[in-house]
């Protein structure tokens, strides 16, 4: 079934489309959300954001500033178990396609 002439981009698009259409993407999103909430990642992130807003002397902090500061922190703070779990599930689903 694998077409070796298919380009990388097309292949990736196909994978993504399959995920989306089957509803698997939504399911995994929800799973991730639940896991993050359980382990306290969301609360921790909210606190950090709150502190960033308070710490900045500017009256109205822009969303861009918050994104630039907080996203790397969020990425680092994700527990490895959750990351692995989601990645495994993704891979399992997509390996069928490959």
């Amino acid at each position: 079934m694998a077409d070796s002439r298919e380009s990388e981009a097309d292949f990736k698009d196909r994978l993504h489309a399959k995920l989306q259409n089957s509803g698997e993407l939504e399911k995994l999103k929800q799973t991730l959300r639940d896991r993050l909430q359980e382990c306290g990642w969301t609360d921790s992130m909210r606190k950090i954001c709150k502190e960033k807003v308070r710490a900045s002397s500017i009256e109205n902090v822009s969303i861009d500033d918050l994104v630039n500061e907080v996203t790397p922190i969020g990425r680092d703070q994700v527990p490895a178990e959750i990351k692995n779990e989601i990645l495994l599930k993704l891979r399992a689903f997509l390996d069928e396609e490959a």
Partner: protein, 185 residues
């Protein structure tokens, strides 16, 4: 085939990063909106803070100030006596302070007239009767300058004193007219 697995891995990582970014953005939007709308302090409060009791002297358990009466007006510096006066009382105070109001001018004129009469008398009064008459005048003036209620009472008492005037035209004053109107209704 090896390339495909790497592609799959890459795609998985990309999708995961994307999902993480969505979650982060969600939180950022929440916090940002709260800060803009002004309810950031109420958002996700820590339990310990809400359970604490305020033990300060002048405040109640929740930390609110006991003195409920709030001052809605600022005090103004009086240019004359240099005291702090509330805005609502400022105009009447100025009246008295500068001596331009009704009562204060009356008091002032009384003082002046009494001062004028007392000036020529150095120790001995030329006309003691005049002094007595002046004092009587003062008393009369003081009576007149009394409160309106006192005036009313005074007038009413005068009316009551004359019993023979029951069917006089005084009866057709405003109060009796009002009574008649009420009866008609």
């Amino acid at each position: 085939m090896l390339s495909r697995t790497t592609w799959v891995n890459d795609e998985c990582k990309a999708i995961f990063d994307d999902m993480m970014f969505t979650e982060t953005l969600d939180i950022i939007f929440q916090v940002h909106r709260a800060s803009r709308k002004g309810y950031l302090s109420e958002l996700f409060p820590e339990d310990k803070e809400s359970k604490k009791i305020c033990t300060d002297l002048g405040r109640d358990v929740f930390g609110h100030c006991q003195n409920k009466v709030q001052k809605f007006s600022e005090d103004i510096d009086c240019p004359n006596c240099h005291r702090q006066i509330s805005t609502t009382r400022f105009a009447p105070h100025l009246e008295k302070c500068f001596g331009k109001g009704r009562t204060s001018s009356r008091i002032a004129s009384q003082k002046i007239s009494s001062a004028e009469f007392s000036f020529p008398s150095h120790g001995q009064t030329e006309c003691p009767e005049d002094d007595d008459w002046q004092e009587k005048k003062k008393r009369k003036r003081k009576k007149e300058s009394g409160s309106k209620k006192a005036k009313k009472k005074h007038i009413e008492s005068e009316k009551k004193v004359e019993p023979g005037r029951e069917h006089d035209y005084y009866q057709d004053d405003k109060s009796s007219k009002r009574k008649n109107l009420k009866k008609k209704r």
